[in-house]
Symmetry: C2
Subunit: 412 residues, 2 copies
């Protein structure tokens, strides 16, 4: 008997019919002799509806009361799913985050899990019950309900799998798994059967969207075997684990893109006076996520700096810089995109970045900025050319065919 944690997102439980489908899936797994712990999110647009109610009352709701409010969304889901599982003849019990032993910091709206006491969950499994746990939430030491912030349900599932020493954590989503790139952009894109945590982390951070980066970090830290798969079919999905089987020696595993990039240029920043630190600190305090940073020292006293942000942060970034650093000359370049290649094999293959630049040059795409890590190379290009860049790179790194090979190998 294996112990399996299964996580279903809000769209998988958006209405009673879908809840019943999830229930059948859960019962199938239990009927195969496995212990099952299910983590669910709030139904469909429940969270948005609750946020709307709060906004009608105040524009400045306290984070504690927002957590008290929003945590009801998952509580509704767990009760309904437990009922649906029971109605199929399988014993089941639902637990809020607190009842499942998930203890978090006493921070509201974005609490981090501190530890999990899995005693209640263990006991229920031992009594033959499918355990349904509310994602996205926990309890602080004083008994207050907390929420984990974005990607919280993925994190709940992985953290529970770690605490329970589960054999597998399945993340059910509306796609078949992790793809070599966005199938809406490249038709030849196809599912990756196995990928490492680090590669997944880069792809997740780069906007692949199927799995929250925080959950991947947690999985890497506690060595939790993850499987990303579809809640709509029984295809095998993508396995995420420490060392992924290399597929046909491919160096690049996937190609990610982010279409909402803005480049900020600052000319003539006095570097000696700690200005650089102050600039990035003031942006961090306003929760602006600065991504790629390029600096060049013009002469001893002054630097030119470029960095990218997401388009959503443009307004606050410009306002902050104009107010706090009026002496600095500011330029804004919009309509950019970031295109990245990801693969653990790059470390031992120094020509990968050069091949990327050559491929983009051949396609007539000019590179505005570059950023590299051990397992990825990111480039900033014009947004209009981003899809073309993704297609060229997908072909250049042999992913068009590789992907097909993997798919046929799995007999889908």
């Amino acid at each position: 008997m294996a112990l399996i944690v299964q996580k279903f997102g809000g769209s998988s439980v958006a209405n009673p019919e879908r809840i019943q489908r999830v229930a059948r899936r859960v019962v199938e797994t239990a009927a195969a002799g496995h212990g099952v712990v299910v983590v669910v999110s709030a139904m469909g647009d429940t969270t948005d509806h609750l946020i709307d109610l709060a906004r009608q009352l105040t524009s400045n709701a306290s984070a504690r009361e927002m957590d008290m409010l929003l945590s009801t969304g998952e509580q509704v889901s767990i009760a309904l799913l437990a009922m649906a599982v029971q109605s199929l003849g399988q014993d089941s019990i639902s637990f809020t985050g607190g009842l499942a032993g998930i203890r978090t910091e006493a921070v509201h709206g974005r609490a981090r899990i501190q530890n999990i006491d899995p005693a209640n969950v263990h006991e229920a499994i031992q009594n033959g019950k499918v355990v349904i746990v509310a994602g996205f939430q926990g309890m602080s030491e004083d008994g207050s309900i907390t929420t984990l912030g974005r990607g919280g349900s993925d994190t709940t599932a992985v953290a529970l799998a770690a605490a329970l020493e589960a054999d597998l954590c399945e993340i059910y989503t509306d796609v078949d798994g992790v793809y070599t790139t966005d199938p809406r952009v490249v038709k030849a894109a196809s599912k990756i059967s196995a990928i490492s945590y680090d590669e997944m982390l880069e792809l997740a951070n780069l906007g692949a969207g199927v799995l929250h980066p925080r959950a991947v970090e947690y999985a890497k830290q506690y060595n939790v075997a993850l499987m990303v798969r579809s809640s709509f079919n029984h295809n095998p999905g993508t396995r995420v684990e420490e060392v992924a089987t290399m597929e046909q020696g491919k160096i690049v595993r996937g190609i990610a893109h982010d279409m909402n990039v803005v480049k900020i240029g600052l000319v003539g920043v006095r570097s000696r006076t700690g200005n650089l630190k102050r600039i990035f600190q003031s942006l961090a305090e306003r929760a602006v996520n600065v991504d790629i940073i390029v600096t060049s020292v013009v002469h001893d006293e002054q630097s030119d700096i470029s960095f990218t942000i997401t388009g959503d942060d443009l307004e606050v970034t410009v306002a902050t810089l104009q107010t706090e650093f009026p002496e600095v000359q500011l330029s804004v370049e919009q309509n950019l995109a970031k295109v990245s290649i990801v693969g653990a094999g790059m470390i031992s293959n120094p020509g990968v970045a050069a091949q990327m630049f050559a491929t983009l040059a051949d396609a007539g795409i000019s590179i505005k900025m570059v950023s590299t890590s051990e397992i990825k190379v990111s480039t900033v290009v014009d947004r209009d050319l981003a899809h073309e860049a993704v297609k060229s790179l997908h072909t250049a790194y042999g992913l068009d065919s590789a992907a097909e090979a993997v798919v046929s190998g799995l007999k889908e």
Copy 2:
């Protein structure tokens, strides 16, 4: 500084505008220098909506999961009300039943409160916070969420008031208080300014509807001063306490009626074989509430029995009796009503029942059954004549004028 518990029902918090109105009322009380604990129900038809979701999944939901589901309704209300109170500049905190220290039996759907540990609530009040508590719910020893069943929020409010040794428990409703009779039936009906627990209990049980009998029992047991008043105006309402000031020596305080009564007749029940006990036990097991019972011994071995039930229980009652006691001859009389007079002064005034029978006889209304207690006389009459009966009795016992006197005395 007084400590006041205020309870608001579902219609008082049905939408954001109403929640804001309740918030203003709460803040008014706090601004007058009082400690305030607020108990709220779920918003409007939230509970019905949740029950409907569950029914789409199963016709046989487990009571534990129903509690997990339904308790979210009050949790949404407390979070929203706390936000609304905060937005008026008054510090506030919301507690689920569990967080408020309300411990119940480990029974779901109709748990009874076992004890309340008011430490969290006390601490919050001492820190200058208005405390908002979810009505209708508690927590069992194993940490499961329980609900208290019908009238639960009234009971929560009274039990909290008892545990906190509050000075007053205000029950806000959509009427001005407790009336001498239903104002829709008798225009001259008017508000009673003070009433004893026992009288209120009879009126509550007899269908006056403003206050749940369980809450009144609890208030009597712990001597909690209750005030029933309107959430729509600032009229003083009806005070319920141990010994209510007698109003102008009126013996009868109020007249209640219940329009949904069915009389069941059983002819030829063998009394020696414990049949009587078995009949009422089998009905009790099916949660049929038997009200007035009249038996007459025909001869040594056989009895004729009549009893009343509410019309809602007719089907299950007939089915039970026909299946389990096929030898008994069954008659059913529908379209009946119960009309009752209530007043603590009856004990020392033996002529009250006689006056009631005479009044009804004068109005041409025949009495089918009678039941008396120390402070009430109930009669079963034809439903068509029930309103006429209420009007005649209201006049006969001097309530038409008494009511007006009370109202003018309170300068409304």
